[in-house]
Structures are given as C-alpha cells and as structure tokens.
C-alpha cells in the first residue's frame, strides 16, 4: 500500500539550531542526522563531479555512510529522525547505484551539465535510418536483412548454418565496436576531469555522441542475441 510522505527542510540544524552547510547529512556541530540536502550525488560522498572514480574508495565510503544513516540505526528514534534517515539513505543508495556504474555515472554527470541524453531523446526508433551512425549504415542495413531472414527461417522450423555463422560474426564485430566506444569514453573522462572549461565542453559533446553510439550498438547486439537465442 502507498503512504504519502511529507518533506520539510529546516534551515538550521533541527537539534542544536546551529546553521550548517546544506550539503551535509550530519550536523557538523552536534552530529545529528539532517534532512536530505539539495546537493548532487557526488556531494553525498564529499566528491566534486568527476568521471575517474576510485571504486574501492567509493564502496568503502558507501559502507561507512550506510552504517551511520541506515534506518536500522534509527528504529527507536524520533519520527522526524526516522523519516530523514529513510530519505538520506535512499539518496545515498541512489547515488551509489548511479556512480559505481561507469555508464550511469557518465550520463548523470552529463545531465548535471545540461546534456539531453537517454532513450527519450535518442534511439527511440532505432530503425529510423537518420539515427544510424553514418559509418555503420551499410552493415546495419545488411544485418537487419539477415535478422529478418533468420526469424523467417526459425518460424518455418528451418536451420541455416551459413546465416547463423554470419550473424555470430556480426555480433562479434559489434561487440568489438562497443569495446572501442568504451575505450574512447575513458579517454574523454580524463579530458573532462583534467581539462579547463573549454576542454570540458568539447569532452561533453564527444561523450554525448559516444553514448548515443553506444546505445545504438547495444540495441543491435541485443536484437542479434535475442534472435539467436529464440
């Protein structure tokens, strides 16, 4: 069943009344838990936005914060503290889930900087030829033909070893292209993390394009896998 939750945001610490920096989940003065701050996922971990992350360090910090914030620690606390613990821990978990995954992390950082990415902005109709990366146009056209043939053959209960081999070859090729995209993304991470404003803007543009390409390739590989597995 659903329950309606209320949100309330005091300006100063609710417990000791000392005003505090908004992006902290604990009062620096009295250590009491605070309502979720308006900060981004990086600030939850005390980080500036960046793309090369020390994952071991992130996990360690996730565990450390979980121990302090988790609702299990507030089972017998006041109603407000229990609500804040719930909201803070949800924020912590959402942040960790997003930042530990390289692609989610990249997408999140780009969105923070105003980029429009994701299914709703691109790749919605992946059969639309205008969305196909130019260098793949010919291969994608041929692949789609083969996929159609394969589905038709399957429907008839027939097996076409040559077609199968050709599809598996195509899949291997697209898998390889995916690896290349990931490699290029990592190169852009460095440029973004270390660059000045101009370099960052350029890297952002590059990454948006790479993520589009990646999503496109991923869908292709999924189509092939599904057809082969059917």
């Amino acid at each position: 069943m659903l329950k309606v939750i209320e949100s309330a945001v005091p300006v100063a610490c609710w417990s000791c009344s000392v005003a505090h920096n908004e992006s902290t989940l604990f009062c620096p003065h009295c250590s009491k838990i605070q309502p979720p701050s308006g900060g981004d996922f990086f600030s939850v971990f005390g980080l500036k936005p960046c793309l090369n992350l020390d994952l071991m360090g992130l996990e360690h910090e996730f565990h450390r914060l979980s121990r302090r914030l988790h609702p299990d620690r507030f089972a017998r606390a006041s109603e407000s503290e229990r609500q804040w613990s719930l909201a803070d821990t949800a924020l912590l978990n959402d942040a960790y889930r997003t930042l530990r995954d390289p692609i989610h992390r990249t997408e999140y950082l780009l969105k923070l900087h105003g980029a429009e990415i994701g299914e709703e902005h691109s790749g919605k109709d992946r059969k639309d030829p205008s969305r196909v990366p130019a260098d793949l146009l010919e291969e994608v056209f041929e692949l789609n033909m083969q996929l159609e043939e394969m589905r038709a053959a399957r429907k008839m209960g027939e097996d076409d070893p040559a077609l199968l081999a050709s599809l598996e070859q195509a899949k291997a090729k697209f898998d390889g292209l995916l690896d290349e995209v990931d490699e290029s993304l990592r190169a852009q991470w460095r440029k973004w993390d270390e660059g000045d404003a101009g370099a960052r803007a350029a890297a952002q543009k590059e990454m948006v394009a790479l993520l589009d390409r990646r999503r496109y390739l991923n869908n292709l590989v999924r189509d092939v896998t599904e057809t082969l597995g059917a």
């Binding site: 939750i5 299990d72 949800a90």
Partner: protein, 646 residues
C-alpha cells in the same frame, strides 16, 4: 512507552517460529507444548451453544481439527497474502478452503471458516498472536515490537499484508526482513566471514535465492530472485494426486469430494516425502473399508523423477540471480540451505550442480536447522534494531528490492524508474504534466515487475494528482517522488513545482486493506499495563487448561483410548486431576506446568488418534460417497484439482 524486547518472527507457509537474542546467541522460544515450530494452521472451535463467538485455535491443536472439521480449518494462508480475487481462486484449487460467497472483485478476498469470514491478514494475525503469547509467557512480560520475515520475492502488496497482520496482532512491526537475508545473518553472526554467499531457500510455499557480499560486518545483497508459487506444498500435491488417482482407479473410490479424507491422505503423503529423504523407499499403506488396502511402494528414484519438474523451476531464478550479481558459480564462496524442502537429497544434488560445489571441494552449509535458521536471523535483526547488544552493533543488512518499479506510460508501456536489485531504501523522482488546457488531475498507474507492458506486470496502485492549478497544457510541472522503504514498501509524494503547491494524492491500492479496515480487524486484547498483564496471562492459561481438558474428555470416548496401556491411562488420569486442582488456584507457573504435563501425558494418545483418522476419514467418506453415487453426479464444493505432472 516502555521498550521491551524486540522478537524475531518467521511467519512461514507451513510453520511459524518466534526467536530472540539470549546474550549473544539467537534462540527459538518454544510453545506450551515444548515445540519450537507452531504450525501455521488456524481453526475455529465449534460454535458455543450460547451463540457467542467461537474460539480460534492455532498450531498443533488446530492441525488436529483438520481431519475432523476441515471446513473450520485453514492453513498455508501465506499463499493468499496480498493477492486479488482471481489469484486466490486459482490458488484455492489446491486447497480445501472456500472463499466467502459474496467477495467482489477489487476487495480483499475473505475465507469462509465455519460461520465466520476472515481475510488472509486476519488469519495470519492469529498465528502472530500465538507467537506473541508464547514469547510473553516465556519472558513474563509484554512483547509489542517485532521483526517479521517475508520471502525476498514478495511484492509490495504481500509485504503490506504481512505488516497489516502484525498490527492486527498487536505488534509494531519494526522491520520486514527477507527470509534468505535473515538466514545469512544467522550464519554470519559467529563467523565474521568475508566473501560471497548464495542462500537457496525452498520453503513450504515459496522459493527464494539471494546472493550476498559479506564485508566488515556489512551484509550487502547483490541480487535476489525467486518464485512465490513454488515450494514443498507442490511436492505434497504431486504425491497426493497419485494416491487419489490410484485409489480411484483401483478401488473405485473418488476421495476428492471429501476434504477430511483428502487431509488424512495429505498427511500420509507428507510423511512419505519426509521418509524418502532418509530412506530409499516409502509406502502408502491405508486400510480401505472393503477390507482392501491401498498399498503403494514409492522408490526414491520414482519420487525424484516425479518432483524433477518442480525442482527444475528453481534453476532459472538461481541463474538469473548470478547474472544480475555479475558473477559466475565459481565466485560463490559459500551456499546456505534454508527451508525444510532442502532436506530432500535431490534438492541438494541440484544445488551442487547449480553452484559447482562438489567440483570445487565444497559443500552447502546445513549446520543450522533449516526450519529454524530464518527465525534465528530475524532475532539477530531484531537485536540490531533494538541497538542494545555489543555483538550486533557492527552488523548491517543492506537489502534490495526484488522487482523493478515502473509507471505506465503512453501505449501501456512500462517506464522503469527503480530497477530490480536496487539497494533499499531507494527512490526515483519523475515529472508529469498535463495534456489538455486547464486540466487539474493527472492519473498515474504504478506497477511492479519485469515485463514490457503494464498489463503484464503487477498493478501496485493507481493514483490521482489533484488540485493542479489550471494552466495551459504542458505547463504544470508536477514532481512525484517514489520511495521504496527499508521494508520494500512504496511511499509516494508529489509537488507542483510552478505553483509550489503540494499536490494532493488519492491513492487506490490495487490490492490490500485500507487503514480503517486494518483498524477494525485488530484482535481484541487486554491492556498491556503490568498488573493487567499478569491477570491476562492467568486468564489465558486457564482458557488453555480448559481447552485441553475438554479435548482429553472427548479423547476418552475415542477407540484409540483403549489402545493405551493401563499405566498410560493412569498417567493421563493423574495429570488431569492435578491440572483441575492448579486451575482453581492462581499460581501461574503451577498452572502452566500442569498444562504441559497433561499435554505430554496425552501425546501418544493424540498420535494414535491421528493415525486412526486417516483410515476412518476414508471409511466414513466411502459410505457417503456410495450414497451420492446412486443419486447424482458428484459435485464437490471445492474439489482437489489434479496437479500436473508428466
């Protein structure tokens, strides 16, 4: 409010248990009969002559009523928790209970028990109240707070129904904990292990698999999967079907119309299943009225072939859980077995193959009793929440949501907003707008599941965002926050951002009781003040004494009484006289002692009666069936549908 102990409760399909932390060790609290397991069976005593409400009994005594008054007994009700009418109707094909005649689509189904009707949470509440009483008797103090375990794969409605049951039983449910995770806690407590463990939990009615990473006292669930329709019950049904079919074919007797006989046969099937875990074969040997015997040898090989399709259904969830956790079987350091059905050798064989154990020189962990390990883990979690013990203060459980949360988008497609296996609490914020000028309402449909179309997922709730200030279409920006709490239950809040107005939400849960309904179903109880509490314990003990006395009186009329030796009969007589004496006084401990002694003195008598009941029920039924055969087609009110097997 005085903060007493927090207990851990395993509310199982077949059996339920209550446990607590005694110092640094979790222990199960036994019931009055000395048994750790309370069968999750609820029976309604006969209607009193004065027309007052009949007493509800729980556990072993209720189980005895299964054969004599099956229409007044309900079990395995966990399978019905949080389910809609259609689902319950499908489920009931395999059980002898009836739905109340007037249940409407959209309301919580009610079960007809004798003259009365109960929702599944109410029935569970009676089981919980029994466990609560057992704990209170043990501590001599009120117990008002508990941790209750649920299958990891339970959805939102099933979780909420379980919490409702706790509230009806007078328990504040501090946390719902997933059963496999609880088991991992019980195992991890004394070993301070690091590594990856898989928990394979095949219970009476549900199957769960969870993969956890243990590190620095943090139990972090990586993935979970399962089937809330798979368990030991399914195996019982297979054996039962064979026996019913063969008795019909070979002896011309169709027992399906007679719930009492079916229950007797079910007990024989369960006994056979249990024997087959230790022996190479088991027998059905039941006397039929025409002097024939139904004798059936079931070699273990045949049994294993029979149950293979059931066991095979646990393989896919295990593989999916490993895929979701991003690991291979080789990366799993330990496997923990939970649930009575994991005693079956074929199950252990399957687990071995799934996780490549023997090949790596490993064995699954079975050192804790698979029936008790979940309750023990719940006690550990209870202690973590109470925050009073040293050895649990560094432990923390990070669990996940088993199913993806989504909202229905245009064209009935699901837009996933919180993916499955996200650590909980988890949240997602979505923005909605209007499609028509001046529109003041937006309807939102929330679903749970992995399918592409909302119609194929489980409907969680529909709600309306109301009071949106009239604006041009597309201009309002309503922010809705979805939050799955630490119990795995959804909470929603909404705000219209341009006007800053808190949008009103009217939530219509697709399944489940309203707050007012739950309130009205709270089981009557005495006040928890200390003085009243002592009086209440005495009253309860006297009621219990009366109940056992009247049962013994009845049993004296039963043919089984004559089968006791004269020494055994004398012991029963003496125990009864003693109980009558202490019942007149007000010494609570003496009274409890008296109840226990009489219970023990009549244990063999009860067993003899149970054994006789199988044969008797069949005999009684056959005469009845013969009469019906002459007159009309057999129309059963609730026939046993044959289970499918190849």
């Amino acid at each position: 409010m005085a903060e007493g102990r927090v207990v851990g409760i395993d509310l199982g399909t077949t059996n339920s248990l209550v446990a607590f932390m005694q110092g640094e060790t979790p222990v199960v609290i036994p019931g009055v009969d000395g048994s750790n397991l309370v069968p999750s069976v609820v029976a309604l005593d006969p209607m009193p002559a004065d027309g007052s409400r009949p007493t509800v009994t729980v556990g072993n005594s209720a189980r005895r009523a299964l054969i004599e008054t099956p229409e007044r007994v309900v079990y395995s009700v966990k399978r019905l928790m949080g389910r809609g009418l259609g689902e319950v109707q499908r489920e009931l094909k395999f059980f002898p209970f009836r739905l109340a005649g007037d249940v409407q689509e959209g309301e919580v189904p009610r079960i007809q028990l004798g003259e009365l009707q109960f929702t599944p949470p109410e029935i569970s509440a009676y089981v919980l109240r029994q466990l609560k009483r057992n704990a209170e008797r043990y501590f001599g103090a009120p117990v008002t707070q508990a941790v209750i375990t649920v299958p990891a794969y339970f959805n939102d409605a099933q979780r909420q129904a379980t919490k409702d049951a706790g509230r009806m039983a007078g328990l504040q449910v501090l946390r719902l904990v997933n059963e496999p995770t609880a088991a991992a806690l019980a195992y991890g407590l004394d070993r301070a292990k690091e590594g990856t463990i898989a928990v394979y939990d095949l219970g009476g009615g549900t199957f769960d698999v969870s993969i956890l990473k243990l590190r620095d006292g943090i139990f972090e669930v990586q993935s979970t999967n399962g089937d809330t329709h798979l368990g030991g019950d399914d195996i019982d049904n297979l054996l039962l079907t064979i026996a019913l079919d063969e008795i019909h074919a070979e002896h011309g007797v169709d027992l399906r119309q007679h719930p009492g006989a079916v229950q007797g046969l079910r007990k024989a099937a369960i006994d056979a299943k249990i024997r087959l875990s230790a022996e190479q074969s088991a027998q059905f040997d039941i006397e039929l009225p025409n002097g024939d015997r139904y004798q059936r040898e079931i070699p273990r090989g045949v049994f294993e072939q029979l149950i293979e399709p059931v066991l095979e259904r646990t393989a896919a969830p295990c593989k999916q859980a490993m895929t979701d956790a991003g690991i291979t079987p080789e990366q799993i350091d330990e496997v923990v077995l939970v649930g009575g059905s994991t005693r079956i050798p074929a199950v252990r064989q399957l687990v071995d193959e799934l996780f490549h154990l023997a090949a790596r020189g490993k064995k699954p962990h079975t050192d804790l009793n698979p029936d008790e390990v979940v309750a023990l883990g719940a006690a550990v979690q209870a202690e973590i929440l109470a925050g009073t013990a040293k050895n649990t203060e560094d432990l923390l459980l990070l669990d996940v949501t088993p199913l993806s949360l989504g909202i229905e988008a245009l064209g009935g497609v699901v837009a996933r907003i919180i993916p499955r296996n996200s650590t909980i609490p988890a949240s997602a914020t979505e923005h909605f707008t209007t499609g028509v000028d001046g529109q003041t309402n937006v309807a939102i449909h929330v679903v749970q599941g992995e399918r592409e179309l909302a119609a194929d997922c489980r409907s969680l709730a529909r709600f309306d965002l109301k009071g949106i200030p009239p604006m041009t279409a597309g201009l309002p920006r309503i922010e809705v926050k979805f939050l799955i709490d630490a119990d795995g239950i959804l909470q929603v809040s909404a705000r219209e951002q341009r006007s800053g107005k808190q949008a009103q939400i009217e939530v219509k849960p697709t399944y489940g009781l309203t707050d007012e309904q739950v309130e009205s179903m709270i089981l009557e109880s005495f006040d928890n003040a200390e003085a009243d509490f002592a009086a209440r314990l005495l009253i309860e003990a006297r009621n219990e004494a009366e109940s056992i006395q009247s049962k013994v009186e009845l049993a004296r009329q039963h043919p089984a009484w004559a089968l006791l030796t004269s020494d055994e009969q004398k012991m029963v007589d003496a125990a009864e006289r003693h109980l009558a004496k202490v019942k007149a006084g007000s010494d609570l401990n003496a009274l409890r002692q008296g109840i226990m002694v009489l219970d023990q003195a009549t244990r063999r008598l009860a067993e003899l009666m149970m054994d006789a009941a199988v044969t008797e029920a069949i005999r009684g039924k056959t005469m009845q069936a013969a009469g019906e055969d002459l007159d009309e087609e057999l129309t059963a009110p609730h026939p046993m549908a044959p289970a499918e097997f190849k």
